[in-house]
């Protein structure tokens, strides 16, 4: 049995168990949920070995190679996304389990959607076909919107609605771009050898569509409400991977599909990234609610991932990939900790934070550790990612980007320390009148493990960096390439 067929497990285990979860009576549903959430991450171990050895695994459906059929591709970048997804998914499970008990009849839809979301994210990561990516993103978005709506408040429902409307608009633009690509090349494969004319219009349409889905400033308006009103475990998955898969797709289209995009567009996208970094950090600083601070911080951190486009060298690629990993783990840890804080305090208003370090030391510690990664202090994973981006800017002579990255560290420090200062050093130690019972310790520990992991990968960055470095081939010193089915050697 060859490794490439193992790829099927990543999509068909969660999808199959989602179908089984629909069929099973509530009492036996938990087995489907456990299997669907825990079995597919096991396959990442052999797949990682295979990617380390062969760099890229490909799979073609029905033996019809592109442009006729659909292909999948697993390379180092996809592997990083899948690992973030696996780790965050497992860590979010206890919290979700506790809030939506699988044996209760009414939580049935939640678990089917949870498994479908996992299916969609994995599929969108593997897709090497422009239209297959679209259906995968639709599946992901629809499941995510429905999961946000499981919180029945007006805020969550309108957040879900806004997200849905904007996502439809985004996919509309994306598909229009895909249609233009097909009209020129007659192929829907992501790797497009012959795309010449109208290239930029199609490119801009596809990128804009994906930027809506990835919530890149200024197309981010759905994100703060959606992340901050979703149930904690859902927010964790969403912030760690749902936006990221659209962003990774954006990278792929930029580096694989587009042929020689104009410098103007490159710089424009870099500036949009810069705008996102600054705006997100400022907005995060002003927020009155903890979850809003974390949500706006995502907008800021997503900006870094866009800096890969102007920097465009191997080091930048390693840095951006590493940042994606570190940020995904840290941000999910924060959302999980915030969910526990809301459960106990009944609110996530930062006015209630003073004294938290006494009442909920694990959560306070998680927030602090994850905050270290967000700021990018050594030795955290966030430091490694930003350091690689910084040195890429240094080596390519991008002084603007260099200053921006340094400044952004300070700005992240501002909003992180605002939270930490209130939590640990505020003199008031304001008493909250009514404390709800604490959630089980395993939910706190799960969040803490993610935050710790985000620091540990900073201590031992080499396996991941080597993997990312080996998976990317330099082509002419500027363009990045990675293997795609049907793309030849």
């Amino acid at each position: 049995m060859s490794f490439d067929k193992l790829l099927l497990a990543l999509v068909f285990i969660p999808l199959g168990t989602a179908l089984v979860a629909v069929m099973l009576p509530p009492a036996r549903r938990r087995w489907a949920v456990l299997l669907g959430s825990l079995a597919w991450p096991c396959f990442l171990v052999p797949l990682s070995i295979a990617v380390a050895r062969e760099q890229t695994l490909t799979l073609v459906f029905g033996g019809w190679s592109p442009p006729l059929g659909i292909g999948w591709r697993l390379d180092a970048l996809a592997l990083v996304v899948l690992w973030v997804h696996a780790l965050v998914g497992i860590a979010a499970l206890p919290g979700a389990w506790q809030r939506f008990k699988p044996e209760e009849t009414e939580s049935g839809p939640f678990w089917s959607l949870w498994l479908i979301l996992a299916t969609g994210v994995n599929l969108a990561t593997l897709a090497a076909d422009l239209f297959n990516l679209y259906v995968a993103l639709e599946l992901t978005t629809l499941a995510a919107v429905a999961l946000i709506a499981t919180d029945d408040g007006i805020a969550a429902l309108s957040a879900a609605m806004r997200y849905l409307l904007l996502a439809v608009l985004g996919s509309l633009m994306y598909v229009l771009g895909v249609g233009l690509v097909y009209a020129q090349t007659g192929s829907l494969a992501m790797h497009q050898p012959g795309l010449v004319e109208l290239n930029n219009v199609a490119l801009v349409l596809m990128l804009t569509g994906l930027m809506v889905k990835a919530a890149i400033f200024p197309l981010h308006v759905w994100l703060p409400h959606a992340y901050s009103n979703a149930p904690g475990p859902v927010a964790a998955i969403m912030s760690a991977v749902v936006g990221k898969v659209a962003l990774v797709a954006l990278w792929r289209i930029w580096f694989e599909t587009a042929v020689d995009p104009p410098t103007l567009l490159t710089n424009l996208l870099g500036l949009i990234g810069a705008g996102a970094i600054v705006y997100g950090a400022l907005a995060a600083y002003l927020q009155p609610r903890l979850k809003m601070v974390i949500a706006y911080s995502s907008i800021s951190q997503f900006g870094f991932l866009l800096l890969l486009l102007p920097l465009a060298c191997q080091q930048a690629f390693q840095g951006a990939g590493f940042h994606l990993l570190a940020h995904g783990l840290a941000k999910a840890a924060m959302f999980l900790a915030a969910a526990n804080i809301v459960t106990v305090l009944g609110s996530d208003s930062i006015r209630h934070l003073p004294g938290l370090d006494k009442r909920m030391p694990l959560e306070a510690f998680t927030l602090a550790l994850a905050g270290v990664t967000l700021i990018g202090l050594p030795p955290s994973g966030g430091f490694t990612g930003k350091w690689m981006l910084l040195s890429a800017a240094w080596e390519t002579g991008g002084w603007f980007w260099l200053v921006l990255i340094v400044l952004s560290g300070l700005m992240s420090a501002a909003y992180v320390f605002r939270i930490l200062a209130l939590t640990c050093f505020h003199p008031a130690r304001r008493a909250v009148h009514h404390l709800h019972p604490k959630p089980p310790a395993i939910t706190s520990l799960a969040a803490l493990m993610l935050a710790l992991l985000a620091v540990v990968i900073g201590l031992y960055p080499h396996p991941v960096l080597d993997l990312l470095g080996s998976g990317v081939l330099m082509d002419g010193g500027v363009r990045l390439q990675s293997g795609v089915p049907g793309a030849g050697p």
Partner: protein
């Protein structure tokens, strides 16, 4: 010639959809407008690629069929969401403020009680 005419038709419908999306606050109106825009998109997907033997290319046709089913699925879900939202808040519109950061702290306090909906089960 036929292609050019229908490109113009699609453009007009797309514009009407954009207009509908912008001017109407009612969610169902927005959904109607989005569906118009989707129809325009489907028309473009069929008309723009070159036809083969007088028939539209089968691949975009299949894509559009897929798109139609996805569109009806999304619309059905969005309608259910809208009915629920209407029942809860009494009007079928979304809060007009796009970005809470622009409103700063005041907004956060105002919506805090309902926004912090995550209670112990």
């Amino acid at each position: 010639m036929t292609s050019a005419i229908f490109v113009l038709v699609a453009a007009a419908i797309f514009g009407l959809g954009v207009h509908g999306l912008l001017v109407s606050a009612h969610i169902m109106r927005k959904l109607l407008a989005l569906n118009l825009m989707l129809s325009a998109l489907f028309l473009l997907l069929i008309v723009v690629p070159a036809s083969i033997d007088g028939h539209p290319d089968p691949v975009p046709q299949a894509l559009v069929l897929t798109g139609i089913v996805i569109a009806v699925s999304t619309t059905a879900f969005a309608l259910a969401l809208m009915v629920r939202l209407f029942r809860k808040q009494g009007h079928a519109t979304i809060h007009p403020d796009l970005d809470p950061a622009l409103l700063g702290r005041k907004h956060g306090r105002r919506t805090a009680p309902e926004a912090e909906g995550e209670r112990a089960p």
